[in-house]
Subunit: 349 residues, 2 copies
DNA sequence: GTGACAATCTGTAACGTTTCAGTATATAGG
DNA sequence: CCTATATACTGAAACGTTACAGATTGTCAC
């Protein structure tokens, strides 16, 4: 009956990962005190605080995530939700790096939550919310009336969207100014004498479709050019389809002498289609394209390009989510990035 | 003094997420029994087991990850460790999707652990291992003598490498057969009359550098062609540098009439460099390139390409790690993928 | 010397899970 | 009828953390 209290402390100096108990043992303090000292609670003596923090640093103490998560519900996780087949390749890579960059010196981890073909985009969101798997969520492929944003807004879970919604609801977002992109593209094409323009737009269901389209048509009437409809394909279509449709279009009597393309890979297809029809880029037709990495000018010197920085988008989105988690007001966490360093430039003939 | 026992059960039917306690309350069983019934433990009656599992399914019970992790140490997390600036773009995206595909119907989550410029590649690994943040790890940019693999092998944490090591240690890996790629490339070039070949190799420190180089030189002597050294740059160099060096090389007296390139983006730069020097692809020189998405043939019809499937690599790597976690022997979890559907084909003049 | 009060520190309980060491109940063996 | 033994279930403890409700000092006013 007398051996029960000496063994109670469980060899707190053991070789496993240090815990609060280890620290308590080493400093001679209680676990509670150590816990509070580490988070600068006010009722801990200044010297004690310093002492605890010193020891903690020395032995490389790191709070156990599972312990914190179980006790507080805080996961220290940001989830990036991605569509497995429709997402642009460079987007995935750059946005991940952008997010990483921002959360690097925070306790946050980035988890990637994919959803695949034919699955309801709401599924992964429901999963995350129901299982409380993340403190914050980043979604892309945002729609004007986005059920995911609505859902998360209702449950009060912090999130940020890549692209805006149009539901009269306020939430953090980061968006590229596709309206500005389209207008600048059209103006530039008009400036070099192009009059009949076609737009390879984003898929209709996404918000930036209308942004792009509005910019395109507004600028068209501003410069007095006309539109050659090209809405049987979007940037979501396969390379082959876009190529084929472009070739078809270019063989018509009234064919475009200028293209505006919302994605780099699609632009490759457009150019291929143009050349399939026996026409020449820069002579018969000019193409302005968005790109996210500086490669299109290697493809064809004649291409006119505008840069969209996905890495920046990732960083901005991460900042927004963290801001919301940190208590900032959602309305203050919205940002729009202007077409940067418009590289559209035509080499002299 | 009498109100203390009735409230003890904590309103287990409450509206929060269902827990084992909720299930225990609903079935009238003990928490322990429910826990064991859910995992098909032998000492639970057949009917009880079915009943519990039915109720669990009905109310959508999902084990709390933090609870499991705290109790058992199992994180149900696979970590993909990536270099933030050197990783190939399409690699990141495809490998993530490949991994996702495999872990989709497992309880595993994918977390991305980045490391950046000038940081010791061992840092993120140490972090993961020390904090016990993952049950399994996937690394890329594998070196012949890879400290990361050694480290994880020592600590007994399951991992898989993209690319092989050469340390006499056995561990799961997935690799593309770059030796075969290089030999096939050289043979093909020789077949169309090319005699002086240059190789744009992977960075020397990575294992697949020597695989590629060996395949290249072995095939060179086999076909009796000669090498034009081009080792001042690797696929890790910037587009601009590769372009410039290529142009320099092509202006020399003895210049290559064939290139083998280990990466698609680098190939763009090589072609640009060739054209900078006033030469023509397909006439003065041919280029064989690896690619991971089917875009290079759009860039220049004359390009000869071999496909490497990163999505497959991701899936294979995930399977390996899960296999190791599941108790399989590391030696049985190695795979090598052959150059698939070698598209190297020369359009007739 | 007593009471009040601030300043510091501490034990206990709880988050949800699994494991350990049982406790009942029934069945069979002698 | 009593003891073994298998079957089916259960409570308590523990993983590491934080919140709550004290507990122990010392200081100061009166």
């Amino acid at each position: 009956m007398d051996r029960d209290q000496t063994e109670k402390d469980d060899e707190a100096s053991g070789q496993g990962r240090p815990t609060l108990k280890t620290l308590a043992f080493m400093t001679g303090l209680g676990v509670t005190t150590v816990s509070r000292a580490l988070k600068d609670a006010p009722e801990i003596g200044a010297e004690t605080r310093r002492r605890v923090q010193l020891v903690a640093k020395q032995i490389g103490y790191r709070p156990n995530r599972a312990g914190v998560r179980l006790r507080t519900g805080k996961t220290n996780v940001i989830s990036l939700v991605l569509n497995t087949e429709r997402e642009i390749m460079s987007f995935v890579s750059d946005i991940i790096y952008g997010v990483s960059e921002v959360i690097a010196d925070t306790p946050y981890h980035l988890i990637v939550t994919p959803y695949s073909r034919s699955q309801d985009p709401l599924d992964p969101i429901r999963y995350l919310v129901e299982t409380g798997s993340a403190d914050g969520v980043i979604i892309s492929r945002t729609q004007p009336n986005d059920p995911r944003a609505r859902y998360m807004l209702e449950r009060g879970i912090p999130f940020a969207t890549h692209g805006r919604t149009d539901m009269g609801l306020i939430h953090p977002y980061h968006d590229f100014d596709n309206y500005a992109f389209a207008t600048e593209a059209v103006r530039h094409l008009a400036g070099i004498g192009r009059r009949r323009l076609a737009l390879l737009a984003p898929p209709v269901e996404l918000t930036y479709h209308s942004h792009t389209l509005n910019g395109f048509t507004d600028a068209l009437s501003e410069v007095g050019a006309s539109e050659i409809p090209f809405n049987t394909v979007s940037v979501d279509h396969s390379i082959e389809q876009i190529r084929m449709r472009t070739a078809q279009l270019m063989r018509r009597d009234v064919r475009p002498d200028g293209f505006v393309s919302s994605a780099a890979a699609a632009t490759l297809a457009i150019v291929a289609g143009i050349e399939d029809a026996g026409l020449k880029l820069g002579r018969d037709v000019d193409v302005v394209s968005k790109q996210s990495s500086d490669l299109l000018h290697l493809f064809r010197r004649e291409l006119l390009v505008v840069n969209e920085n996905f890495r920046l988008a990732g960083a901005e989105l991460a900042r927004s989510v963290l801001g919301w988690i940190g208590g900032a007001t959602p309305g203050s966490l919205q940002s729009l990035s202007k077409p940067t360093g418009v590289l559209a430039y035509r080499p002299p003939d």
